[in-house]
Structures are given as structure tokens and as C-alpha cells.
Amino acid sequence: MRRIPRGIEAVAHNDRAIWEKCFKRKALDLNSSLFEATSFCVTMGGMLKGFEEVEHTADIALRVRGRDLRELLVNAALGLGTLLTDHVDMPAEAVQTRPVEVDAFDPESLLVGWLSELIYWAEKDRFVCRAVEMQEISSTHLKAICIGSCVPELRHHIKAVTYHNLQIVQTDQGLETTVVFDV
């Protein structure tokens, strides 16, 4: 049985059934308390969604929230995952872990650099990231393990993540930003 590395940050769906189907029962030996501990990454404690799709004329945009930069980056990756595929099932034998390191200039370029890595993988072999183990993070650097699988087909072809009006802003609950993808 494969194990997800310890300290995993979040899963793509805040739905216990899906979580168990994807990770626990079928695939991975994780305890449910870890699920409780990480689910806020997606839902912000049930108050606000960690990410949601918003309207943009020519493209697709994602509003992303997090209590800190770590959460924001994780939620952005998971949000991108839902744009890329409807497939929630991730059979045990298909689970892959991929290391990634991004260096950037400021938090916004870190976010763009990070999502660009995931878009590159999506196009290369349809790998979609469903969970993240964030190992190191600062405002200009991150090191993470992405956990996901290669899906049979992608829902959207995402060309790129853009800097269009990109700004990570401080809110009462933490950080928020809207990322526009060119499709």
C-alpha cells in the first residue's frame, strides 16, 4: 500500500465520501483526523470556499482564499485541479507523487510560477494535482510534493496562468486573490 507523505495539506474535495474513496479506503492509509485538520484548506472552516470559478470575458478565472500564503497556494492548486478535470476518482495504482520547487520574485510571481508548473504537467501527460505536501515556503520560494494522477482526458485546455489584475490582498480571514487563466 502506498502512503501519502506525512504533513499533507489538503484534498481536492471537502467531501468525506470522495476523500475516502480516493485516498483512504481504496488507496492510501491516512487517518480521518488528518482529513479534519486539513479540510479548512478547501472550505475556510465552512465559511468561505477555498476556491471558486468566477466569470471573465474570454477566459476562466478562479477566486482563491487562504488563511496564509501556504493555504492560498494549496487552494489555488486544488482549484486548478477542478478546472482541469471532473474525474474525482483516483485509483491506488494511479497515484503519483511529484516534487516541485519554485523560485520567484514576490508572492504573486510565486503563485504564477507554481500554477504554471501544474499547467505544464497537465499538458505533458494530463497529470492533475489533487493534494499537496508543502515542505518549504516563503514569499519567494516553495518546495512541495504534488500528489495526483494522470487522468484520461482534460475538461479544459488551459494555455497559461496570467498576471491579469493579479494581486494577493489581505482580508479579515486571511489572503484572497483572483487568478485568470488563458484558455
Binding site: 470575458t57 477566459d59 504573486e108 482534460l154 497559461a160 496570467t162 498576471y163 491579469h164 489584475n165
Partner: protein, 483 residues
């Protein structure tokens, strides 16, 4: 937001925003439009984006919006920005993520009546021969090092592999190869994204369409371009695929820091740029040219696939199934060109993002067969609606750095379009109009619903009426092939 009162009408189809409108503007902004299209444009951020481009270092004369302008990222789509060499800027955002996205028009000797009985077979054959869909690879396997040749030689590489004729190359913008492309300036990731996509259509708004030339507006030019009423023609609309997207991504990221180095202040980070004479500017220019060459090669291989499909479906059934090339022109590109500004001939970098080059008669860059009538301009409409062939004019050289519109321009978001239109229903509607549809994805079809776009006839009327690019022929679709 730009207030409509700040926009002065200076001619029937020409509007201007004075350079005094905002402190950081270096030049005025001009819009080719009409009252209804202008209202559309003011409905999103596109005019603000146009004003933003007027702040870029080295920008000359004025920045321009074509009638199909709509909101992009950083630069508006349907914008033209010229910057002066040596130290004016080049911006990856001024080209866009799909570098050298463009249109190729193929002509035939087949009439509509001849093809009608076999239209289903033809549509299916094209769909089968031309790989399409999200992230789909093609059948062309490149040997080690061969991708670098595609990047540096463009359509010439395609010819060496037997996918092109001399005439095809002659009838492609810049002969299908931009000189000065450097495969070394393209990242390994970009190459990885592009290595198996040569000769593939992709998804999104890209398509292949079988058209009928419905109306001729300019007999002389049409004859020269090989077009006649009732003729079957084919349009191929696509670009540099994942490779181009990654090149843009890489350089937008790299330039985030470069703008600080060169002390450039910007109203939007997507406008990042570097002076053309800097190492950063030169690297992007060489990489962009490589991606542009990839796009020329891609459309060339697709044209080869279309030819095979015509032979397979129509051989022995029509008199002559031969497919020839009319022209191929990009609408997302930055080109180093000579233009006259204030009575002086200067070298500029013309960024055309969602805008088509439209050189007037006797320009040396026009194929000799068309030289005295002007460059063919290809303006695809939205799915199921008309497309246009125009010709470039002297007026375009004087007013717009030899540029015109590129299509209908989106008026509704993809999500909105999908809410309003169901893919299956749209397919039935198109089929009801006698248009065959071969599409990999129904939701992809709905996103491109004609109602999500502006009226292409209206857009073209503005360019024609202002004398920038004049009408030659109007095409209507009879088969649509999409990812």
C-alpha cells in the same frame, strides 16, 4: 474605467482618446469602431487596457484598437502597439500566449454542387486526418534535434519533410519562416509541450472549416487570390499550441524582474516588457520567432492533412480535388517593420495582438502574384457565421502600421455561453442550416456559440468603411471541424 465622454469621434469610424486623458500616457489611443461596437467595448476593461498600452516606453504615434477589441490580459485583444527601435520595448503580453495564432485559407477548383453529395465523407475525413482536442498529440514523430529545425525553419522544415510546396511557402506571411529565430531561447519545458503537437489543431476557438465563397466584392482581387463565387475553400485557424503558451509563460515570468532592472513602471503586470536592445528583449524576440515558426509549420502540416482528406473523400467524385494555398497570416505577433511616422521612415516593433497584418499594394513582403492588389487578409467569423477575405491598403500603411481586425471578437464569457447554449442543441441548429459538425466536445462547441461573439460583418464594415482593409470575398461555412 474610461468614460465615453473622453472618447472623441474624429471620423465616421475613428475615435480618439487624447494623451492628456491620463498622466502616464505617452501617446493618444485610437479606436476604429462604430457606436454599437464601441458600446460593446466599453462593457469590459478593453478600453482601459488600450490606454494602459499607451504608457509603454518607446511607443510611437498612437496605440490602436480594431473594431473587434475585447478584454484580454494586459493588452486588449484587437490591439496594435508600435514601439521604436533601438530602445523601445517588446512585450510578450503584446503578442499573447498563443504566439502566431493565425489563419490559413486554402482554395479549390471544386464547386458547392459538386461537393454537396459527399460533404459527410469529407467532414469525417478531415476530422480523422487532423488530430484535435485538449492536449492531443499528432502522428508526426520528430527525431532528436528535429524540433529545433521546426523552430528555426518553420514551413521550410515542413517542405523538407514533404508537407509543403514552394507555392505554399511563397503564399505564407514571411514565407513561413521568421529569420533570427533561436531554438536555444526556447525552454526545455516549451519543447516538451510542443514535441508531439506539430500538425494538431488543439481545442478552444481553433477550428478547420469547409466554406463556400458566397459573395465576391472585388472581382480583380478575388481573381488574383484564386477565388470565385460558389467555390469550396478551407480555413485553418490555430497557432503554436503548448509550445507557444510556454514561451509566453516563461518570458512573462522572467520579465517580472526585468522591468525592475530597466526601471520600467507599469499599470498592469501582464504588460511586462524589456527594451528591444537589451539581452532580455533580444532573447524573447528570438524565442517568439521560434514559436511563430512552429505555428507556421503546424498550419502547414494541417494543410497537408486537409489535402489528404480531400483526396481520400473526393478522388474520382469531383473533377479536380486539388487544394491550393491562398494565404496564411498570423494575428498574434510582434514584427520588426519599417513605417512612416511624422514624415520619417523609422524601424518599429509592431505588436499585433488579435490584429492582422494588412500591407498595401506593392509592399515587398507581399507574394509577387498578389503584389499589385495588396496582401490578402483573412478574417474568420465565429462558428457558423460568415468569414471574410479582405485586402490590405495604402490607408492601412498610413493609419494603422499596416494592420486590421482579426475576427468577430468575443462578446460573452465562455461560462455565460455554456449557460445560454447547450452544445447538442447548437449542433442541431447548425446541422439544420446544412452545416456539418464534427466536434470532439459538446461543451467546447457551446463555448464557441456564434451568439457569444460580435457580428463579424459589422466589424468588417468598419475596416472597409475606413479604407484600412477592403472587402474581397465573403465565405460561409458548410462543415466545421473542432476539438
Amino acid at each position: 474605467m474610461v468614460d465615453s465622454r473622453a472618447i472623441k469621434r474624429i471620423d465616421k469610424y475613428l475615435y480618439e482618446i487624447d494623451a492628456s486623458f491620463r498622466d502616464d500616457m505617452r501617446v493618444p489611443a485610437r479606436l476604429y469602431t462604430d457606436p454599437e461596437l464601441l458600446e460593446h467595448a466599453l462593457g469590459d476593461a478593453s478600453v482601459d487596457q488600450l490606454v494602459n498600452t499607451a504608457t509603454l516606453p518607446g511607443v510611437v504615434k498612437y496605440v490602436l484598437a480594431m473594431p473587434d477589441i475585447h478584454q484580454g490580459y494586459g493588452f486588449p485583444i484587437g490591439g496594435v502597439v508600435a514601439t521604436q527601435l533601438p530602445d523601445g520595448i517588446i512585450s510578450p503580453g503584446g503578442v499573447g500566449y498563443d504566439i502566431n495564432c493565425g489563419v490559413r485559407l486554402l482554395g479549390t477548383h471544386i464547386s458547392e454542387e459538386e461537393v454537396r453529395p459527399y460533404l459527410d465523407e469529407l467532414a469525417t475525413a478531415i476530422y480523422n486526418h487532423c488530430p484535435s482536442g485538449v492536449g492531443k498529440g499528432g502522428e508526426i514523430k520528430l527525431k532528436t534535434g528535429e524540433l529545433d529545425r521546426v523552430l528555426e525553419e518553420g514551413s521550410r522544415w515542413a517542405k523538407s519533410r514533404g508537407f509543403a510546396t514552394d507555392e505554399d511557402l511563397e503564399r505564407t506571411e514571411v514565407g513561413g519562416c521568421l529569420e533570427g529565430a533561436d531554438a536555444g531561447a526556447v525552454s526545455a519545458k516549451a519543447k516538451e509541450r510542443g514535441h508531439d503537437q506539430v500538425g494538431t489543431l488543439g481545442a478552444g476557438n481553433h477550428f478547420i472549416e469547409v466554406d463556400v465563397v458566397r459573395d465576391i466584392y472585388d472581382e480583380e482581387a478575388a481573381q488574383r487570390f484564386g477565388l470565385f463565387a460558389g467555390q469550396i475553400a478551407v480555413q485553418i485557424h490555430c497557432g503554436s499550441r503548448g509550445l507557444g503558451h510556454q514561451v509566453c509563460t516563461d518570458y512573462v515570468q522572467r520579465f517580472q524582474q526585468a522591468v525592475q532592472k530597466y526601471g520600467i513602471r507599469l499599470p498592469d503586470r501582464e504588460l511586462v516588457c524589456a527594451p528591444l536592445n537589451s539581452p532580455d528583449g533580444q532573447a524573447y524576440l528570438a524565442a517568439m520567432k521560434a514559436a511563430a515558426n512552429y505555428a507556421f509549420a503546424n498550419r502547414q502540416v494541417l494543410a497537408h492533412h486537409v489535402r489528404r482528406a480531400f483526396e481520400e473523400a473526393l478522388s474520382g467524385k469531383v473533377r479536380n480535388p486539388y487544394v491550393f494555398q491562398v494565404y496564411d497570416v498570423g494575428h498574434n505577433m510582434a514584427k520588426i517593420e519599417q513605417h512612416e511616422v511624422d514624415g520619417e521612415r523609422i524601424t518599429v516593433c509592431v505588436h499585433r495582438k488579435g490584429a492582422t497584418r494588412a500591407f498595401g499594394p506593392y509592399h515587398p513582403d507581399i507574394p509577387s502574384a498578389y503584389r499589385d492588389v495588396g496582401q490578402p487578409v483573412l478574417v474568420p467569423g465565429s462558428m457558423g457565421t460568415a468569414s471574410w477575405v479582405l485586402r490590405g491598403t495604402e490607408e492601412a500603411m498610413r493609419q494603422t502600421f499596416g494592420s486590421t481586425c482579426h475576427g468577430a471578437g468575443r462578446a460573452m464569457s465562455r461560462t455565460q455561453a455554456k449557460k445560454k447554449v447547450w452544445g447538442g442543441e447548437l449542433r442541431e441548429q447548425l446541422e439544420g442550416q446544412g452545416i456539418r459538425v464534427r466536434a470532439g466536445s459538446m461543451s467546447g462547441l457551446a463555448e464557441e456559440a456564434p451568439s457569444a461573439y460580435k457580428d463579424v460583418d459589422r466589424v468588417v464594415e468598419v475596416m472597409h468603411g475606413s479604407g484600412i482593409a477592403t472587402k474581397v470575398a465573403r465565405l460561409v461555412p458548410i462543415a466545421i471541424i473542432k476539438g
